[in-house]
């Protein structure tokens, strides 16, 4: 620092740029857009490579969420009976929808936290906007979700839910959830890059989140029937939880009988959930992107 102050001036005088400096936001976004093909190819490649060691290969993409749903059904559906007044034929599609969609967010958080640390060699060898990594990892999760969606549709139809135009509402819900997931994955990527301990802690945080999000029980049903009814503010807080919002909106889109149960039997309006959904997606995406971008030049130091 005290060595050659003139050297830096000399360099900038000739229009040289600092090679490890963070580009301005505009050109960063442009670079990221130029890398979209790499992001997609990287995600697909990871997805293919993930299962090459196992004999069943890509079949696990379907089997894993299916087994997960089975486990939750055995414990919460049969043993603990958390269905709380939901008819049996509604509860299973209700549970499976919840588990699949929550898994999408859960895995995005998990893989986002690892995305920088697991790719240090890549970061130290090649030049690219680092946000490509958490983005690619969210794309991996999206690709997996789309596969498990096929299973989900089969289960939902199998339990006698009708195929209706309401299903189209799932598209905006998934877009909102994807946007939210990208944001939270970017934020977790920065946190995970500089605090390795977070990966040991995340499973507990995520499991707690799962139990609070009304995945294995109906939160609207719970709010009507338990002590929470006397303290409506608890209900309002639980309802604003993004994981709950996206899961609930998907259920309302997909499950005709559940929609009837919430609207008619509980007499609840669900319009405000859409506002929550949009707000969470926009805010999380902007905050996450900005937060990640602010440390761009420091990733890779270890």
């Amino acid at each position: 620092m005290n060595g050659h102050p003139s050297l830096a001036e000399f360099a900038t005088g000739y229009g040289l740029k600092q090679s490890a400096a963070r580009p301005p936001l505009g050109s960063y976004i442009r670079q990221l857009w130029q890398r979209r093909h790499f992001i997609w190819a990287f995600a697909s490649a990871k997805n293919i490579a993930m299962y090459t060691e196992s004999r069943l290969g890509q079949v696990w993409q379907v089997l894993t969420p299916l087994l997960n749903a089975t486990v939750y059904y055995l414990i919460f559906g049969l043993l603990l009976n958390t269905s709380r007044g939901l008819p049996h034929n509604t509860f299973i599609p209700f549970l499976v929808t919840g588990v699949f969609l929550f898994t999408f967010t859960q895995r995005s958080v998990n893989s986002g936290a690892k995305s920088v640390g697991d790719n240090l060699s890549l970061i130290r060898a090649l030049h690219f906007p680092r946000a490509s990594l958490p983005l690619a990892y969210t794309i991996i999760e999206l690709q997996q979700l789309l596969v498990s969606m096929v299973v989900l549709f089969a289960i939902v139809l199998g339990f006698g839910e009708p195929l209706s135009l309401n299903w189209l509402l799932l598209v905006p819900v998934l877009i909102m959830q994807l946007t939210f997931n990208v944001g939270i994955s970017l934020a977790m990527a920065r946190v995970g890059a500089f605090n390795r301990d977070i990966q040991q802690l995340l499973p507990f945080v995520l499991r707690t989140w799962l139990y609070f999000s009304g995945i294995i029980y109906s939160l609207s049903g719970l709010m009507k029937s338990s002590k929470i009814h006397d303290h409506p503010w608890i209900g309002h807080i639980l309802e604003a939880n993004p994981a709950y919002v996206y899961v609930e909106l998907s259920r309302l889109a997909l499950l005709d009988s559940y929609r009837g149960y919430v609207h008619q039997k509980l007499n609840e309006s669900t319009v405000h959930l859409w506002w929550y959904g949009v707000a969470w997606a926009v805010v999380m995406f902007l905050v996450g992107f900005w937060f990640f971008f602010r440390a761009e030049e420091r990733y890779g130091r270890g």
Partner: protein
């Protein structure tokens, strides 16, 4: 942690700076300027007994980040490289040559000081982007995209890469883990060399494969060098440095020992190390 850094820097400044002062040649266009660069690596998981009890004891003693060690790899290095330079970087193992290249490429953030460049310096190498479980075909596409090519560019380069790698019939459709080490490194080099760069940084270990491929890759590097604004070459083979470079930096313990024309520096290096 900040204290530790300060302490380290104090230690590093104690020895006499034997490096020559940087002279600036105003008649030539600079392309890379390195200004009093310091690089510190942080390595996790070093030291400690590695059991829960000792880790807990460390937490109780309030040792912050007990398993982290700092490595001060580059300690105040300065030089100016000009357009058309082919610069060799020599030094013993662990002297900081590869770290210097990564810092020029902007891949390792400096602790203090700075690296200024015209255009984007790039390391020759895509190994990190390739995946062993994927076929050669997919790896070519992935590697090229990782280097920043567009899908159209990848398509136009694809055949050239396959031909250059000279793989046996059918191997391009097999996963790369089925390749012999020679075949793998040939394909990796072919992918890496398919793109031209503003400032090209070449790390050693290029001398892979059989004699024929080595000649082929030397020729390819010459081509790349002609297209690039400047080239940095790290190598232990002093012959290839003498052959390719017009200027040499001798790096030792993260400091610049000597900076000058090839023969002078290489001769002094040979004398000092007794090679």
């Amino acid at each position: 942690m900040a204290d530790a850094v300060k302490e380290k820097r104090k230690v590093s400044e104690e020895p006499v700076h034997s490096a020559p002062p940087v002279t600036i040649d105003r008649t030539r266009d600079p392309i890379v300027v390195v200004d009093d660069l310091h690089i510190i690596y942080r390595v996790y998981g070093a030291g400690g007994k590695g059991n829960a009890a000792s880790a807990f004891a460390r937490v109780l003693r309030r040792d912050h980040r007990p398993t982290m060690k700092e490595v001060h790899a580059i300690r105040g290095l300065s030089f100016v490289a000009y357009k058309g330079d082919a610069i060799g970087v020599i030094g013993t193992n662990g002297s900081g040559k590869s770290t210097l290249l990564k810092a020029i490429a902007g891949l390792l953030p400096p602790e203090s000081g700075g690296v200024y460049t015209a255009g984007q310096p790039s390391l020759l190498g895509v190994n990190a982007a390739l995946m062993n479980d994927l076929t050669g075909e997919r790896n070519i596409v992935l590697g090229c995209l990782a280097m920043g090519m567009t899908p159209e560019q990848v398509k136009s380069k694809y055949d050239e890469i396959v031909k250059f790698a000279g793989l046996k019939e059918g191997f391009i459709q097999l996963p790369m883990r089925a390749y012999s080490s020679g075949m793998g490194s040939r394909l990796r080099f072919a992918i890496a060399a398919s793109k031209s760069h503003d400032v090209l940084l070449i790390d050693e270990a290029l001398a892979t494969g059989d004699a024929k491929f080595r000649r082929k890759s030397a020729k390819k590097i010459d081509e790349l060098r002609a297209e690039a604004g400047a080239v940095f070459l790290v190598a232990h083979q002093l012959d290839s440095i003498r052959e390719m470079c017009n200027r040499v930096l001798w790096v030792d313990e993260g400091r610049l020992m000597m900076d000058g024309d090839t023969d002078t520096v290489v001769d002094a290096y040979i004398e000092a190390t007794g090679k």
